[in-house]
């Protein structure tokens, strides 16, 4: 099994006629993803790699069954696109788009909560169920099937860590990029919970980074509720404290947010924390070897 997606999850691609949408559709089709349709307002009636294009989601659902939306539209249109998909009843949205205004991200997150939909992103590489399908932009050749759940705030660093795991013969059940924007629509803790419930996942890897308090919140959850082992790496140990943005951010974070803080609380929660990316696969291997 996998989290969030299945082998035959049916996907609609928003912004399919754009340069990136077009290219990534080809790569996903090659990887085995079932893409039912694309949406680009004003381009209804066209085709992209044999996938029919519609003007709106509501036209798509008249003709196709849809499980997930993959969004490549430019940032100014991201909010409207997510709202459209959710109003049409789509319960899983992968929002690849970068530079979505934070106020829009907050509204998308609020609507997702209200509609009980899951929105991954913004600024996510997406979701991959290795060997079966992917909804996103990650290079398929860096992942392989297995029992490690992978959650990452970065895109490319995930590829590296997945690649390292594969090199050591350790595959992934599902890998999810949660996005690194100040507000993401699905939290690290929510994703940990999904992996905790997933039978095929034996261990979870977190690839975190400096900033925000997602890792700190997740540490509380791990300590309190998680039974599966967790390995983490936090990027940005050497990042000097950024230019201060007034007091408000500091008050909210109350001393959290630094890489050091994240490493400390994760360790306190029993997580094995790697010093460098390479070490992740070694820690995973040693835990799996001990047999859980």
């Amino acid at each position: 099994m996998s989290i969030l997606v299945k082998a035959d999850t049916k996907v609609v691609v928003h912004g399919i006629t754009g340069r990136i949408g077009n290219r990534q559709t080809r790569l996903m089709l090659d990887y085995g993803t079932k893409i039912s349709a694309g949406v680009t307002p004003g381009r209804g009636g066209e085709e992209v790699w044999g996938v029919p294009v519609y003007d709106s989601v509501s036209e798509v659902i008249e003709e196709h069954s849809i499980d997930a939306s993959l969004v490549f539209v430019p940032a100014p249109f991201a909010k409207d696109t997510c709202f459209e998909a959710m109003e049409a009843g789509v319960k899983l949205i992968v929002l690849i788009t970068e530079h979505v205004p934070v106020h829009d991200a907050m509204e998308i997150r609020a609507m997702a909560n209200a509609e009980e939909a899951v929105v991954i992103g913004p600024t996510t590489p997406g979701i991959i169920y290795p060997g079966k399908m992917k909804i996103g932009i990650m290079p398929g050749n860096m992942f392989c099937p297995g029992n490690v759940g992978l959650i990452s705030r970065s895109g490319t660093l995930t590829y590296e860590i997945a690649g390292n795991l594969c090199d050591m013969g350790i595959g992934q059940s599902t890998a999810v990029g949660m996005g690194a924007d100040p507000v993401v629509c699905t939290s690290l803790t929510q994703l940990l919970h999904m992996f905790e419930e997933d039978e095929e996942t034996h261990l979870v890897v977190i690839v975190g980074e400096v900033g925000g308090t997602e890792e700190e919140k997740a540490a509380q959850y791990i300590k309190r509720e998680m039974k599966k082992p967790v390995v983490a790496y936090i990027a940005g140990q050497s990042v000097p404290p950024g230019k201060r943005m007034g007091h408000a951010g500091a008050i909210v974070e109350r001393g959290m947010g630094s890489a050091q803080s994240k490493v400390r609380v994760l360790k306190e929660a029993g997580v094995k924390v790697a010093e460098r990316p390479t070490e992740v696969s070694e820690l995973v291997k040693s835990i799996l070897r001990r047999g859980l």
Binding site: I20, Q24, A75, P76, I96, E98, V100, P101, V102, H103, D104, M106, E107, R109, A110, M111, P125, I137, M138, P139, N141, M142, R153, S154, G155, T156, L157, Y159, E160, G163, N164, D167, A180, P182, V183, V184, S187, E209, T213, E214, K217, Y233, A235, G236, Q237, S238, V239, K243, R244, M245, G246, H247, A248, I251, V252, R254, G255, R276, P277, T278
Partner: protein, 381 residues
């Protein structure tokens, strides 16, 4: 993107937040004229895009016009935390009875705006947050709903305000939220909000940090984010469309992805020092990569350049052509070590190797960095 105090205050005033009488000056003569107009004594404040200005000596008080000229001169000659002072704000000196703190920012983990108030305003607010968090009252705001007037009043009452002053404070809190929302701010802050001896509330200082990604919605501000970057190389990189942070080492760095970039930097620092942090984002083209390498090379005395890119959303085979173009055109002599994996990696490798770049084909960045170290130890170009 942080905007200047005087710009923030102009927006505050649009939303009816009282601000001190005053005016902007870029010369001692202008400062003199403003002080004459508003009357003495005055406060003179350096306009720089960085906090902690007060402690750095960027705020002065002048009792007479001679002092105004003298102190203005002094401030306009200053550098504060690397920022050159180009303008000063001359304002009436307030008769302070109390200093409050008001702030609106985004609570990332809860995914919503948060409004914070404290009766302990002033420069020590962060210490208050650490040591006496119970003195800071906050409330979450539903993004689609906004801060309602009665919610603002509730916060004002928490600071012990009653009657008309409570209504006035609630009005300022509501207005600050409006500013925050209307201008897509990441942070809007009044610290201190001064209560004068006559019980008026006045925003003595103002900070507004606007979401760069939302600037397209605010052409009325007439602000280009890139113009607000003091560092020349960082500004140039921004124009190309990549994130660049100037650092103090000698290894040039180009990475795709912030997380990968930071991890790479963490590992380089185990033995050497990066000259910069550069992250391409997801819009890689041949031109963008060529521009990125040019910016990196502008910094003199580099020992080497390290490239670490993945072909996910990015067409790295196109990016590689841009790198090759620059190496050829500018006849680059320092060693370049590159790790490039993902979609179309073979084509990418070929292009890079074609101009003499050392390509590492393993997954581990650590191995590629070891190769970089070895290359430099050998001293080969």
């Amino acid at each position: 993107m942080r905007i200047h105090e005087y710009e923030a205050k102009k927006l505050f005033r649009e939303f009816k937040i009282p601000i001190p009488r005053g005016g902007l000056a870029t010369s001692p003569g202008e400062a003199h004229r403003v002080a004459e107009e508003i009357g003495l004594p005055v406060t003179i404040k350096a306009q720089v895009l960085v906090g902690g200005r007060g402690k750095a000596g960027g705020i002065k008080f002048a009792e007479d016009l001679g002092e105004v000229r003298e102190l203005s001169c002094e401030l306009l000659d200053m550098d504060i935390k690397g920022y050159k002072v180009e303008s000063i704000l001359v304002e009436e000196k307030l008769e302070i009875e109390r200093e409050l703190y008001l702030g609106v920012t985004i609570d990332g983990s809860r995914g919503c705006p948060i409004v914070m108030v404290s009766s302990e305003g002033g420069v020590e607010i962060e210490e208050t947050a650490r040591n006496c968090p119970e003195k800071i009252f906050s409330r979450e705001v539903k993004p689609s709903q906004g801060l309602r007037a009665y919610q603002a009043r509730k916060l004002a009452k928490k600071l012990g305000f009653k009657g008309k002053p409570m209504l006035q404070l609630a009005g300022v809190i509501s207005s600050l939220y409006q500013v925050f929302k209307s201008y897509d701010a990441l942070m809007a802050e009044i610290n201190p909000l001064v209560m004068t001896r006559r019980e008026d509330l006045i925003a003595a200082d103002g900070v507004l940090e606007i979401d760069d990604s939302a600037l397209f919605r605010h052409p009325e501000l007439g602000i280009e984010a890139q113009d607000r970057i003091p560092d020349e190389l960082e500004r140039e990189a921004r124009k190309i469309g990549v994130s660049y942070v100037n650092m103090d080492g000698d290894i040039g760095l180009i990475c795709s992805g912030a997380g990968l970039g930071m991890a790479t930097m963490d590992m380089i620092r185990e033995k050497m020092k990066p000259a910069n942090f550069l992250e391409t984002g997801g819009g890689m083209t041949r031109e963008l990569m060529a521009g990125a390498l040019r910016v990196v090379l502008k910094k003199g005395n580099l020992k080497a350049v390290f490239i670490n890119i993945y072909g996910g959303i990015n067409p790295i085979h196109e990016g590689a052509k841009g790198i090759a173009d620059v190496v050829r055109e500018e006849n680059v002599k320092i060693p370049i070590v590159a790790k490039a994996l993902g979609n179309l990696q073979e084509e990418t490798w070929e292009t890079l190797q074609g101009v003499g770049i050392k390509v590492v084909k393993e997954t581990q960045t650590a191995r590629a960095i070891e190769q970089l170290f070895r290359t430099l130890e050998k001293g080969c170009g």
